[in-house]
Symmetry: D2
Subunit: 386 residues, 4 copies
């Protein structure tokens, strides 16, 4: 028996088997992966890690299991899945994910199979069932990776606590209490409002935190730096889940030229500025923006660099993250029927309609070049596919 004191949920208890999992280097590494990557440059309190989040998700999965009246074995399986669900995350979490082109779920599966975790887990569980659940499949998969999963509940609360942005405060008690197993995990009708509220929490956290304008600039800078670093061979993409945040930053500092320059700018918070912004909700077909391929974007950047006399790599075209609203698909038990949340909730539909409200395609360059761009016709360079 062991206790871990969590700043959000209080004293959390783990049994010996769970301690064995938590004590592997694979899970301990998560103590050195920031939950929100470089967001601490915008919200100085956002230094929390994937480790505490995973333990927090474990706690919420217990509460959900209690409410679903799962037996002890199934309950522990859920807890273990929650501990493991982010183990495959590379440094700086989602920021590196985009560059690598592999999802952290795939990496987590691979990591579990290839490491000592597989031996420990086999003592009590079927590895394949664990992996399936972590990937959102099977009857309990939705609890770990679904529209209203414990992952999301924990991160909304936690990100609010550490950033100081109140939007993520959700009613976890009401949500958990209003779930039931009906083949899959479904929401009772009485829980619709709590689900709406959670969806709204995410909606408001997006422009304030996850896609905060400055965060997007920082992420663009880091992604470019990280990509170049991968190309040097100093960091190996296929071993990404062995590195922590520190490895990558210090490896970048040890380089010369572009990589060193960008990491130094990040260290000193000497950030690029936005010189152009194209609001998606003013476009006729906003979805088209997301069809812009990497190659096309590089081409636009190269053209702009030439015409503006900015060195290659110092002008970045940033397409926003696609605003997905999976909560639309949440299954709700209405009388004898199962319907989709999006079909019965005006609010949820409104959020889908509003999904491009805060989205814009942006162009960033270092502030010393910013004055060159007054009156420049950026729009002429951007051709959006049909």
């Amino acid at each position: 028996m062991k206790f871990i004191r969590d700043s959000l949920h209080g004293n959390l208890q783990l049994d010996d088997f769970e301690v064995k999992i938590v004590d592997t280097p694979q899970i301990q590494r998560l103590r050195r992966i920031k939950q929100l990557g470089f967001t601490y440059l915008v919200y100085p309190g956002a230094n929390h890690t994937r480790f505490e989040h995973s333990i927090g998700a474990m706690y919420l999965s217990s509460r959900l299991a209690n409410n679903l009246q799962l037996d002890d074995h199934k309950k522990q399986m859920l807890r273990v899945c929650a501990i493991l669900h982010d183990a495959g995350h590379g440094p700086f979490s989602h920021v590196s994910e985009g560059v690598l082109g592999t999802s952290h779920e795939e990496l987590t599966s691979k990591l579990i199979k290839e490491s000592q975790l597989s031996d420990i887990l086999s003592e009590k569980f079927n590895i394949h069932e664990i992996i399936k659940t972590i990937n959102g499949k099977g009857s309990l998969g939705q609890a770990i990776s679904g529209e209203l999963d414990v992952d999301r509940m924990d991160y909304l609360l936690r990100d609010s606590y550490y950033t100081g942005v109140a939007y993520g405060v959700i009613d976890v008690e009401r949500l958990i209490y209003n779930m039931k197993l009906d083949g899959n995990l479904v929401l009772k009708q009485k829980g619709v409002q709590a689900a709406e509220s959670m969806l709204l929490a995410r909606y408001f956290m997006y422009p304030s935190v996850y896609q905060h304008h400055t965060t997007r600039i920082i992420n663009s800078m880091f992604r470019r730096c990280f990509k170049n670093l991968l190309e040097t061979g100093e960091v190996e993409a296929e071993r990404i889940y062995e590195y922590d945040d520190l490895d990558i930053i210090v490896a970048a500092r040890a380089q010369t030229g572009y990589i060193k320059d960008i990491i130094q700018k990040l260290d000193n918070r000497d950030l690029f500025k936005t010189v152009f912004s194209l609001k998606l909700d003013e476009l006729e077909n906003p979805d088209a923006v997301f069809k812009l391929g990497d190659e096309e974007i590089r081409r636009i950047e190269t053209e702009l660099c030439e015409d503006l006399n900015v060195p290659e790599g110092y002008l970045m075209v940033d397409v926003p993250e696609y605003p997905s609203f999976d909560e639309m698909k949440t299954q709700v038990a209405v009388e004898d029927d199962i319907v989709k949340l999006g079909d019965i909730s005006t609010i949820v539909r409104a959020l889908r309609d509003a999904r491009f409200n805060h989205a814009d395609l942006c162009i960033y360059i270092p502030k010393e070049y910013a004055n060159k761009t007054a009156g420049f016709q950026f729009e002429d360079y951007i051709e959006i596919p049909d």
Copy 2:
């Protein structure tokens, strides 16, 4: 004008001059220095940094200045001192301080003089007055570095928030409201209870957080590792305030032998175990323990390593931090007189009497050697000076 969102104190406002200071690499580096060093291995939420603490102290100094009715110039001086007061901290804050043998106050003074900070500060202030104040001297020095300073107020609140240990929750409003300038900063008699409460907060935070048993093991391990690293020349002591936490850890990982082994143990939370503990409050003269010199301790360790057949460096004798209670000296205005808090408060005197309650001299070794030590007479090796 700029706002920084603090998870404790809300939206904090800075003017252009203050932004210029905060935006220097010297202050930005503090974003990468954890406030509580390796405490995140014990309390997983304790990832907060010297940066947010410094901004928080700035905010509290404003409130104190308002209450003391200082003019705008003096108020900003206090704010600036609060921003700067930790700028000289080396990586992992106090853990490295002990190894280096230089206080962070000295280093802060040196850093200010030698960096661009000196030019920026000179625009509005006398550098010597700034440095004096940061070092606790002059009429406002006690506000920044005294018994009841804004530094202490902020760190107690902040460490409570991030560790989840409630003990540090203090009544900042009552404390600040009950201070006045009378030559020096003194406490009004009505504030005695708030001061007692703050002193108790610190007293309770010591064994729970600052000198938590596991934290002490970790710190002993890291200090040894860090000391050896300094000896390799890869890290230079006189430039210590240019490094961040990452630099040191990654530098240690790049070594071989002992240094690499210890940092790996820390990374994997594979910690030494306590095999012996000598409670100070059971000694006739506990103070004598603190006279044990570094050389003497090394000698004891060497003897023990030989007799237990443990390799050099893998047995650590840890003398606890000396429990100081400077708050005893807090000046209190009682009618027309100024007296010491320790002279009028039964509680404060009790705390001084209880100061060795939680203190013990410990011996740590890796767990794989721990079974060798059953029944071993450690006490025979420890000779406490008179």
Copy 3:
């Protein structure tokens, strides 16, 4: 100078003039008027009063005034208006308001003119300007009684704190910071999201707290009891702002028959049950329901009582509160223009569309009669006007 410790906002400071106002019996009475009426029968922590809310609104009006850079006189006027804004509330706040047919704003104006408040206020202010502002008129009226006023900000936060329902947690800092005076009080475009979030907070608080199903039953019971009590002459409608919650309850207990029975049921939480519910969002024209006059409702009740053999007064038809969304009208400064929030926010429009989602017309009777109603065709009795 005086401090009042508020559980939400901390130590709040009042000057001598403000203390004189707060110390009148008219304002002290508010300590005995519960902010949420009988809601404490649903959320046992909801015992907070109009007094603490008024002081809290005073505090928020200061922060707004600071942000608008008002001079000291105007700032104090706002503070004073906030202290006074609810002085005319009758016992149990809004629950009695409906029965009396006079708004609390009118009563507040009358009370100020007729009491010693008028003399005190005249020392520093023009009474007519105070009353105008409290009624939402003049350049600062919107700050006290508008769509995004300090009243609403304080009550959302406060009702959340005391009920334990998290939905009301709003970002007051961002809201206040994003307001400006432009003839009237208008919202800057950057504040749209904070305004949306506040609107949503209200939207979610409605079914959870303000129009919670059990709260509606309780309010129906109390209103009927209160109406009968007025008819006895024991309580005088025109002096309603001289009574407190206690007066009314104890006066009802002193009666016999129906009044005593209902108040006893409320005391013992022996509540009526819902035997019929007509969801407004399933009607073709939900707005028509609100055209049902008092007389018509009484007629339906009488018919039902007869046919169900339930004594008169023990069957209640409850038309829900009309869900107004004044925030739609919030003025937002967009570039050089002033537009309405409802015109630029998808979310706000969705809320208007969803305004009947949680609304239903209900029929309540004591539980001992409830079994008589199985299969009864209540819908046949309800004729909704075109």
Copy 4:
């Protein structure tokens, strides 16, 4: 199954049997008994009631029972005792208790025996065991009424929450986790610090809240008013647990003369002023002050009224509450022994020594008489017994 939302502890679950107890008029009455009497005149948020406190204590008793690994029957017995433990409280809780001369524990026992509670409880439990436990006897009695009981834990947290005074924030998790059953409920040695911290919380709450100077004036006024009211026969002492706060206040308002005058002063917060204060810690034998009998105090008051020409009843001599520190007696398991907390804790001993620090005997009169007393030798009238 039913949920009650508590603003402190979240959603609390009750089974049908517990709901039956809670739904009795005896427990529902606690919704109308303020936990801290008239403290809301000092801290405007202190409107919380015995009802929510009792439900909160029920919740904590569950957590304690889980930790002690009690079986379901014993666990529910503890929960039920917690729900009932304050049922005998008269209006305004402890303020009336002193006047009546009967403890609320005795009244609770009597109430349980004489009401329907006895029938309900008998379905599952032995009434005598319930009453014994509520009175702190038997192996589980200390959990409900002991030095570190769930009552105290809940009220410290709750009183802090509603007054906004942070001192009562205690580490409930550590306390509960460090208790064990060893014949009686005893504290493990590891819990000593948590117990010290709770003791300190109480120590600090005394002068700030429970014996706040203004609270003492108010309580003196109310007690006098209440005593006179009992003498009129309008309120009957032996039925005290049938009244609520409202009954008493409205009954007093309905009187004439002295009673009406005092209750009006309380309603309007027109409070007596302190004209004399004798600090107990400056006396040689402070304990003697508590030997002053009621008769002796009345005699002093009468003499003073005559000599100061103040009408009878308008001068009050107030002996402070005796500062008991029962926590001294907490049993602590130290190795194989059971010792008293006071014997092993320096802090606890210091608190006993400091127990008269904030205590003073005071004299209050209405402010319109206060100016008559300048230079008056009150001390000549007070003769303290040996």
